[in-house]
Symmetry: C2
């Protein structure tokens, strides 16, 4: 890179470009924002970056994000231990928690099957899920991977893996999202909204 | 914010949200990227952030970005001292330097006039420009503010301010950009490309 920046700015731009979806122009905008901001912003951000690496970790039970291991959800006796909701990422688990609807436990896979990108079952936490399904009193596993091609493939793989263990495997509902517009919905969603229709 | 994150992740998301154009979703994506990355990334980025604040500053001559004051361009005896190219931001100055066409000095205004946003002449480095135009051997001031409403207004303001000092004030050319498509050009650019036509 030869942007004509000072060496310290070039270094910052190079580091910022490693964030997903951040190209040279965005990294430059961020770097100039840092330059213009007061010293406290750079110091606080640097501190927060190191803090995350020092304090946040993945729970050894559900592989969710936590500062204590096992995480508060895995430790909570009021959460049902016979239901496991399987999600791709820790962020998905947080999304469900925000909805305040689910009262069971979670299992974070760490991604979805993507053979073309070289992501196979061994790269996800599938074996750990099977181990959890075998032990204890697990009765239902709710597969909440994303409604994408990879997420669907992962869901089908998990169903084939888990059903022989005698556990109930369910998939979250697909259909029109709340506030969505029927006119602009894609054909797959529309088809699924018909297929999954329920008695009123 | 109650995203259900760990305290250290919440802090990082809050800091990242201060970057221009970064909302909660992008900040979350960045924070999880930090969490998944190795420790070196967080450490290097933290180091780069502090490095910029410690080492990069604005030149007291042209207000461009530099690690030494005055900056290498202001100090370079081979650069013409009778021409000043006025730009809005230090990044614009770097863009000209990349083009390797201009051999004079620069002046970074620090923005453009935007009365609706409360940015008046006193918020820009206009007085400093007048002082530079008065002293020494400045013969031409090239106004290279952006071809936007604010940039044009700033250019007209500067012309009115500088011409009485007996200095030549010019504006960079407007027209169709290289590689542009006439069919898709906006009407203002097309009108300017006709108005500014030159003998072949």
């Amino acid at each position: 890179m030869a942007l004509g920046l000072t060496p310290s700015m070039e270094r910052l731009v190079e580091e910022l470009k490693r964030f997903p979806g951040v190209g040279e122009k965005t990294a430059l905008r961020f770097a100039f924002f840092v330059l213009r901001s007061d010293h406290a912003f750079a110091a606080n951000l640097a501190h927060a970056l190191l803090g995350v690496k020092e304090q946040s970790r993945f729970c050894s039970g559900c592989f969710g994000l936590t500062e204590q291991d096992p995480c508060p959800i895995c430790c909570d006796p009021r959460r049902r231990s016979d239901e496991i909701c399987v999600v791709e990422e820790a962020a998905d688990m947080m999304a469900f928690e925000r909805a305040q609807e689910y009262r069971g436990r979670y299992h974070v896979l760490g991604g979805a099957l993507a053979p073309l990108d070289g992501v196979g079952p061994d790269d996800l936490r599938c074996n750990e899920l099977v181990a959890r399904a075998k032990e204890g009193d697990v009765r239902e596993i709710i597969v909440a991977t994303n409604p994408s091609a990879e997420g669907e493939a992962t869901a089908h793989y998990l169903a084939r893996l888990l059903k022989p263990l005698g556990v109930r495997v369910t998939r979250i509902a697909r259909g029109l999202p709340m506030g969505g517009d029927l006119e602009y919905a894609d054909i797959v969603t529309l088809a699924q909204s018909l297929e999954g229709r329920r008695e009123m």
